[in-house]
Symmetry: C2
Amino acid sequence: MWVLCLGFSSMALAQEPVDLDMAGRIRQEAFHHSQVMDILGHLTEDIGPRLTNSPQMAQANAWTQEKFKGWGLANVHDEAFDDFGRGWEFSEANVEMLAPRTAPLYALPKAWTPGTNGPVEGEVMRVSIKTRKDLDQYKGKLKGRILLLDDARAYKPGTEADWQRYDDAGLAELQGFTLPKGPSRDRAALLKRYAERQELARATNEFFVAEGVLATIAISGWDNGIIRVGGGGSRRAGESVGVPELAMMAEHYNPLVRALERKETVKLRVDVKARFTDDSNRPGYNTIAEIPGSGGKANEIVMLGAHMDSWHTGTGASDNGAGVAVMMEAMRILKAVGAKPKRTIRVGLWSGEEQGLIGSRAYVAKHFASYPEPTDPAQKALPAFLREPTGTLQKQPGYERFAAYFNMDNGSGRFRGIYAQENTAAMPIFKAWLEPFHDVGATTVTSRDTGSTDHVSFDAVGLPGFQFIQDKLDYSTNVHHSNLDTLDHASADDLKQAAAIVAFFAWQAAQREEKLPRKPLAQD
Amino acid sequence: MWVLCLGFSSMALAQEPVDLDMAGRIRQEAFHHSQVMDILGHLTEDIGPRLTNSPQMAQANAWTQEKFKGWGLANVHDEAFDDFGRGWEFSEANVEMLAPRTAPLYALPKAWTPGTNGPVEGEVMRVSIKTRKDLDQYKGKLKGRILLLDDARAYKPGTEADWQRYDDAGLAELQGFTLPKGPSRDRAALLKRYAERQELARATNEFFVAEGVLATIAISGWDNGIIRVGGGGSRRAGESVGVPELAMMAEHYNPLVRALERKETVKLRVDVKARFTDDSNRPGYNTIAEIPGSGGKANEIVMLGAHMDSWHTGTGASDNGAGVAVMMEAMRILKAVGAKPKRTIRVGLWSGEEQGLIGSRAYVAKHFASYPEPTDPAQKALPAFLREPTGTLQKQPGYERFAAYFNMDNGSGRFRGIYAQENTAAMPIFKAWLEPFHDVGATTVTSRDTGSTDHVSFDAVGLPGFQFIQDKLDYSTNVHHSNLDTLDHASADDLKQAAAIVAFFAWQAAQREEKLPRKPLAQD
């Protein structure tokens, strides 16, 4: 049943049809027969963390395919994106202080770094390496040493609650748009620094191996015993993987630095079991499935997506098992309520997001559009997600048939609305679509952009790609890229609400007379 | 220079002399030449955690004696309290999940439990033991198993900031006194439960050893990866120490329970290096030192104190290195400013506090007063700190010569005032003494009692024993009895302020014409 929603804010809103019957059916399935926590539980606790190209990521690809098939989705398959690199996994990481006193220390390895091949013991030494020239002073001095890479860091007291939800003032504040600053030399400097850092990392890996360093230890990105860490070494076959690298909880790291400053001899034992699971570079895999449309719009595409890969020290529950579970649950709900959409509704569970939106970007390039490879060597040296668009957008046949993409990747918090990504014409449409969910807290459409995840792959080529406003919960205080990113920190009720809204947005986008309006490309 | 402080609230306040000259000298030394963080740093990071009767506690006794002697204190010595039990220490604790998937898990041992004597591997099993009868069902079923003792626990979101300071409203609220409830059957029931729990623990230790249990794992008391744990096993020679017992971070524990609920086989490897450092029970030791008084009041005693023992998983920085460092620094300051007190100012660095105020209570019994040993077997079975006072208080000669005791044991937070412990007559005196420290935040005298630490040993026999109101910081959210109780969570400025106030209170109490007024004994 299509009804006219009598909105208050604009003619466009007044004319946007909202399928309240379908909203009710979706809510019923999502709120009363939810499977979202079962899905998230399996992903995180049966499968575990899902580093791109790890065996566990492959398990996740296989299991999600199986679920999709079980729900009767069509065209279920994995789709490769080339040349990601090698897989890696770890199973143990034990560090003991042997001098000046004995104590266990808590540290976990950076992804894509080698294990120690059994316990190793060595004296600890502080090194400060900011440029390639800094390596020279350490030549011949590092053999058998365990290196501390960072300064001690003062404890930062938590003066806000860990667990945050938007209040009315916060949502109102989100309505304001800040004009972007023009292209600046800042970006050029940033890219230069990025390239230099990459080059320094490569040189340092080789140097540490050549010098016989046993292991390196960095300070965790956060305090309170949380270990927040990403990758190190190299995932590329043929590059030096360096030496074992760990990140240590701040409360254990700082005392090591202070002991060295007091000229004490600090000795550690380190035992990391980690391994590269491939000898050569491999493609990564996105998992794709769809509910085919029917009728004249069947070859137009509405997409949902979230990245299935995660970092390795937690179980990737909030980043981004939550998004995957919600997108899967949204597809399940649509099937369960018997949705027969006009447009095809397709879900993409991306890989390689944490390494720069690699999976979604490759998918968009293959099916929709991309910019030519850069010819400028400086641009070429950058990973794709950092490159400036150059040349003319190369459109695939699917480009014009693409209707909309909806992404989720800001933890497990409740949807409070949506970022319109400066797509002004889409705003009244979203306002209308949110009305059936005002009572569960989703009310706000902001013109603002949000970034740093897979909808950017769509947005970057001028396709309407969106992400939702979410309550923050403890995403930025406890779980993001940390060992606490586990099932217990995910919010079940919020995920049920999110799945309902995603299913309904997909339905509305699939049924709408016109595809969603597009904004001009930023570089047009 | 003694001056009359013209207060506003009572005649008593108006007449209390306040030595502003000495306040100024103490502030100068405490704020501009502080050594409090050096002391705390050595205690926590050179010596480490200081479990009662551990080798590190003995190091702390020796080092603090040396410091006191270096500062020119008199009568520096350790004083034994009998029959505490054995020492214990640990150096490693590694747990790996082997099935259903591999991952390192973070867990630390309970104090006074045995190590594993090398890595052990076994299947995990959930047991629920609430009474002795519950043991029967497990007979013959536990061999080679690793036992989970607790249910999974839902994550409790942090809706307040971790780091808290009193605001004006909070300090005002502290001024209200809640009438105590009369003696109730609650207390009797509580003591009965305590005795039953102790008996169950003993029976369970023996049962698990007899049944061949490999290890037990409890859930940490707090979330967010923090490991909060005290003792297990037994510190008493001749009692069963049970099997290796660990507490695991909640985010790693809960998934094990859930996997068992899904009927999955869960296998762990556990490797704990821990040892009892004595074969037989030993006395514990308090460290004592003093600045002798002179003149007619020289044999009257003002005491300062804090417990030097700590739990074992952090380094006992806030609980209670902070108190120890402040009391030591207060003594140092008094010597540095050339204080020649009328009464003797004595410091006691207690041991055995965490096991029930054992060191301070023994000290008070020996030097000041105690109640006779109970004859009721039920009372006799309780540890001393839980017994009801019975019979007539046995006073030592020092009892009447005792002026006051000041304690610190609520973390490293700034002093905001003092708890008067219902000693109404002391309140205007403390109000006057606090005036020179209003500008650094110490303003409040409350009639309220505060408990759970060593001033209770004095208060319980009718001696004026006090503790200060402190800003909470993250004492109750992150560090109390946890692996995060480390130097980085201690607040340097707050400890400087506290040391100044303690030194000044000691001075005022030592110089005052009369000893501090006493309140009637609760049981009189």
